[in-house]
């Protein structure tokens, strides 16, 4: 009895070893070239991934090397000037960008979350208009930013609103541009909340809106906030639509939201870069570095937020 107990594992072990040898014998004949091919494939994938990383560092390194002589306080406190090229800065553009961002937040927070809540929790998908809205948002997310610039030009600068070339027009244009991505991100955050949470509260007799407001939204909040922060970081870097609503003019004063011209960080960088004097090109590189540092900080907050509050239900 005892001997058979010790022999069984041995026999099984021998069978496994035999089977393994047979399989190996069958496959090793493919030759070591197959191993070389597999290793080369892994190498190729590593190279592909490193290109993305190298690109980020190359842009940062270029901006630092090129703009290092202008990384001073003047960059933040001085406005644009053609007379004092060596001490010109981005103050006016920073204020313009802050105004634009304030307007963008005021638009995308209610509209983005509202639309996402409606589409995820209240929309009856058998109704044609709800499907139209969904398809429309997907399409809108793929419309080129410069087309939003044309929209801003035709509706906010001239046409029905006729605000002129002011920060409000730039702000409204950028807000509409990032709105679809906020809606899509918020929808995903709401969808990630398990339906059992909603159903549990519904079973206790609350209305659907109460359940959504008190249970689903708090649970989805970190995801929605991440989407909004990423949209803001995109809004800071957008230049093309602002070119069309008049941000390229060389504004040397602090603009008000509805009056006078305005400027924005990425547009002033573009403006400086297009000037012949080398001081302005250095200033443009310093501006790129400034903008990238701001954006990296914002993105890190978003990524940290997502990692911190990511829950597996």
């Amino acid at each position: 009895m005892a001997s058979s107990l010790t022999r069984v594992p041995n026999r099984a072990g021998a069978a496994v070893a035999g089977a393994r040898a047979t399989v190996r014998g069958g496959f090793v004949k493919q030759g070591s070239w197959a191993d070389v091919g597999r290793a080369a494939f892994v190498g190729l994938m590593m190279i592909a991934l490193s290109v993305a990383v190298i690109a980020i560092f190359a842009i940062l390194a270029w901006a630092f090397v090129e703009g290092r002589t202008r990384l001073d306080l003047d960059l933040l406190t001085n406005g644009p000037s053609t007379a004092r090229r060596a001490t010109a800065g981005y103050s006016v553009a920073i204020v313009g960008t802050l105004q634009i961002i304030a307007g963008v937040i005021a638009v995308i927070v209610p509209l983005g979350t509202g639309a996402a809540i409606y589409l995820e929790q209240f929309a009856d998908r058998s109704k044609w208009y709800n499907r139209l809205i969904e398809l429309n948002i997907q399409n809108l997310a793929g419309v080129p930013s410069i087309v939003f610039g044309i929209l801003g030009l035709a509706f906010f600068v001239r046409g029905p609103f006729s605000w002129g070339q002011v920060a409000a027009a730039g702000s409204a244009t950028i807000a509409l541009l990032v709105l679809p991505t906020v809606i899509l991100a918020s929808r995903e955050a709401i969808r990630a909340v398990p339906s059992s949470i909603l159903e549990g509260s519904l079973a206790l007799g609350v209305t659907r809106w109460q359940a959504v407001r008190k249970q689903v939204l708090p649970a989805a909040f970190p995801g929605i906030l991440t989407g909004i922060i990423l949209a803001i970081s995109r809004a800071i870097g957008e230049a093309a639509p602002l070119l069309l609503v008049g941000a390229l003019t060389f504004v040397t004063f602090y603009p008000s939201f509805f009056e006078g011209g305005f400027s924005a960080l990425p547009v002033l960088i573009y403006n400086y870069a297009g000037r012949a004097q080398v001081e302005f090109q250095i200033l443009a590189a310093a501006g790129v570095l400034l903008m990238l540092v701001i954006l990296l900080a914002i993105n890190s907050v978003a990524i940290w937020l997502r990692a911190r509050y990511e829950r597996t239900w």
């Binding site: 597999r38 592909a48 090129e66 509202g114 639309a115 589409l119 809205i133 080129p144 870097g237 070119l243």
Partner: protein, 318 residues
């Protein structure tokens, strides 16, 4: 204390209260109506875009025949002898798109295969944010980098190529390619990750290597999602403005296929024309809207194709 409230709640309901809500809750109906309106804003935005783009077109095409617009091979609005053939800037756009796809398809797809099939969870969690950061870099930064550094660097590496002038459409395409790698990679990665595990395990059970499973099983199974990723990338490349404006610059008004010199694209034309000194209401000003409408329709077609492919993919595996 709490037990007594529970008790009273129970006794309250035992008297046969109706399950009907006590109040019609008009407040909530208003809230839901407001939520509906917020989502309807996007439809209004699309409508406004269509109006903005197409409303000036009847006036434009009454002066410039639509035949000239699509057959003439010179684009020189505002010149002394203006020609309005849109082909040169359409060709410029597609040179940028094709170069971008040559860069982004292999790099994006290989990155996606690694992320979905090879990367341990920990590595995946660090690489994904890095790709997001690359996607979030403002295009004006990428454009300046490509103009001031990448273009001279590539010319230094390959002096035998026919570089001419400060601008290069090809380099613009390479820079746009870098920008769309994250998009291509993340959409393909999503597609490959939603391929059912059983397909992979079946292939492993037959003795296939990891590479064979990735290339012969997972990629073909996810192919419609991957194609959607490519189409979305191409659509993004068509609409890219700042990089093209900076690196491809203002090209000659006639047709050119040379990626080593500057060529104007649809987006760069709109941006440079809108920032120039052109009187509102003139025919030259209206070209902004004609080219914008063409650009909008092009990306619309691309986006619809991509959405179709994604839907097809979902049908198979959901």
């Amino acid at each position: 204390m709490s037990s007594s409230t529970v008790q009273s709640a129970w006794s309250g309901s035992s008297t046969g209260r109706s399950l009907q809500a006590d109040s019609p809750r008009y407040g909530e109906k208003i809230i839901i109506g407001f939520l509906f309106l917020t989502s309807a804003v996007s439809v209004a935005v699309t409508t406004a875009i269509v109006i903005a783009l197409f409303q000036p077109l009847p006036g434009f095409f009454s002066e410039i025949s639509i035949v000239e617009f699509f057959t003439e091979t010179e684009w020189s609005p505002g010149y002394s002898d203006p020609k309005y053939g849109v082909w040169p800037i359409v060709v410029g756009t597609f040179i940028v798109v094709i170069t971008a796809m040559i860069v982004a398809i292999p790099l994006g797809l290989l990155s996606a295969i690694y992320l979905s099939e090879y990367a341990p969870d920990r590595v995946r969690k660090t690489i994904k944010p890095v790709l997001e950061v690359l996607e979030g870099i403002p295009t004006v930064a990428t454009g300046l980098f490509a103009f001031f550094w990448l273009r001279p660097f590539l010319e230094y590496l390959t002096p035998w190529l026919p570089w001419s002038g400060l601008f290069s459409t090809g380099v613009a395409g390479v820079a746009v390619g870098l920008i769309i790698i994250p998009l291509v990679a993340s959409v393909s990665d999503d597609a490959m990750r939603s391929v059912p595990r059983s397909l992979r395990e079946g292939a492993y059970a037959l003795g296939a290597s990891k590479m064979r499973v990735a290339l012969r099983v997972v990629v073909p199974a996810a192919i419609s999602g991957i194609i959607a990723a490519f189409v979305l990338g191409a659509s993004r490349a068509v609409g890219e403005t700042m990089v093209v404006l900076l690196v491809a610059g203002a090209g000659s008004p006639s047709l050119s296929f040379n990626p080593f010199e500057g060529i104007q694209t649809m987006t760069a034309y709109i941006a440079s024309r809108a920032t120039g000194e052109i009187a509102v209401g003139t025919i030259v000003y209206d070209t902004i809207f004609a080219v914008g409408a063409l650009l909008f329709l092009t990306t619309l077609v691309f986006n619809i194709i991509a959405i179709r492919f994604v839907e097809k993919f979902r049908e198979v595996y959901d």
